[in-house]
Amino acid sequence: MADTISEIEAQELLVKLDMELRKAIPDHLPLGVDLVPDWAEPLTVLDLIQAEIAEGRPVVRKVRVADGDIDRLTGTQRTSQGSSAELTGSQPYTAVEALALTTEALALVFVSPVQMASRLMSTLSKFGAVEADNISVSFAAKKEQMPSPVLELDALTVDIARVTAEPLANELKKLSGSLGAVTLDLSIRPEKN
């Protein structure tokens, strides 16, 4: 049994993941609850990363460019070999690479915020000389005159997020490990000071 995922397996998984997620998200919409933008976000993440995959990997190709076919003075055909130029183009991603990008994007949006929140809580506790359980963090709205924060964190919120994100972190970690690329650190254990 191969240690890393094959192109065919990667392609199958990408298709299944896309199909199942697009089918599952609307089914999970809670009726009458104004959470639609949040619930639709996994699809937004998929759309964003699929757009990047579709563009392909940027590559620079060294090509020979003809200087011009006809000599303007004499009207005769040039014999020049032309000049070399570096032109920017793109190259399609392999299925394994596309799966790695998808895995990274999902982890970035749904796992790394928990890691960042843990890191922040730990930093605030350490330098603010406050017990971790007593920390309260508020993020002001984009229009800062709005009195209510857009995001509030405390130890309990982060703990709940950690527990909720753990199954996804574990699955993405397994997947990342089978892709043969750099394995993502998806550990969401509480930070220690």
Binding site: D3, L13, K16, E20, L21, A24, I25, D38, E41, P42, T44, V45, I49, A51, E52, E55, R57, P58, E104, A105, L106, A107, L108, V109, F110, P113, Q115, M116, A117, R119, L120, S122, T123, F127, G128, I135, S138, F139, A140, A141, E144, V150, L151, E152, L153, T157, I160, A161, T164, P167, L168, E171, K174, L175, G177, S178, V182, L184, D185, L186
Partner: protein, 224 residues
């Protein structure tokens, strides 16, 4: 490691169970990225021997910690935003802020996602409702949380324009996704950057923190 047949089902189920918390949204990552980088700056300062404490606008210890999600003036009283006071022995005190404006050489204000500046400058700006001068910021970091790396080139170009006006020196660009185009852009212009930075890449964290440590080392050496 071979994949399991039902891996896609497990991933989809795990995603569908996520939106019960406020940390499972795209905006949560965007909001947290700057404070996360700010925390790395503080770690670097501490490793270089600084004594660090957290303060609110009035210099008191904050009861709760407020952060900006959009830049505003250092003197803003909209919320009791917190900042870090960084003290190296024998050196002028510094402050580390998230999401403030600084004024460039052209006197135009610019956004700084993370900025470390002289406390004396910060005090003067708070007293007079002005923006700190870029020359008084010993370290600034432009932080970009994005999912699609292709958008990074535009941010990179903007950053190059920005640092022309806020002077060269310890000016960093960090972003969540690696992009060969942005790397080439910064490498060609000899600028400091770290792409693909997030807690998922501890090696990059260590490298960036090391760069911040050098910035603090150089600051300390000026006053040794």
């Amino acid at each position: 490691m071979p994949i399991e047949d039902d891996m896609h089902t497990k991933i989809v189920d795990a995603i569908c169970n996520l939106p019960v918390t406020n940390l499972s949204t795209l905006s949560a990552g965007e909001d947290l990225y700057e404070p996360y980088v700010w925390a790395l700056v503080l770690e670097a300062a501490e490793r270089m021997g600084a004594v660090i404490s957290l303060r609110d606008r009035n210099g008191g210890a904050p009861g709760s910690f407020w952060f900006r999600t959009q830049p505003s003036g250092i003197a803003s009283v909209a919320h009791p935003y917190c900042h870090a006071l960084i003290e190296f022995e024998g050196c002028p005190a510094l402050e580390a802020h998230v999401g403030i404006y600084v004024s460039g050489r052209s006197k135009v204000r610019h956004e700084c996602d993370v900025a470390v500046l002289f406390k004396s400058e910060a005090d003067a700006c708070r007293d007079n409702n002005t923006h700190p001068r870029c020359s008084k910021a010993i370290l600034t970091v432009e932080c970009k949380f994005y999912v699609n790396a292709t958008v990074g080139v535009g941010h990179g170009r903007s950053f190059l324009g920005l640092i022309n006006d806020i002077q060269n020196g310890e000016r960093y660009f960090v972003a969540t996704r690696a992009s060969s185009s942005v790397s080439k852009l910064f490498a060609k212009h000899n600028k400091e950057y770290e792409l693909g930075l997030s807690p998922m890449s501890p090696d990059l964290e260590t490298r960036l923190r090391g760069s911040f440590e050098k910035a603090f080392r150089d600051f300390k050496s000026e006053f040794a």
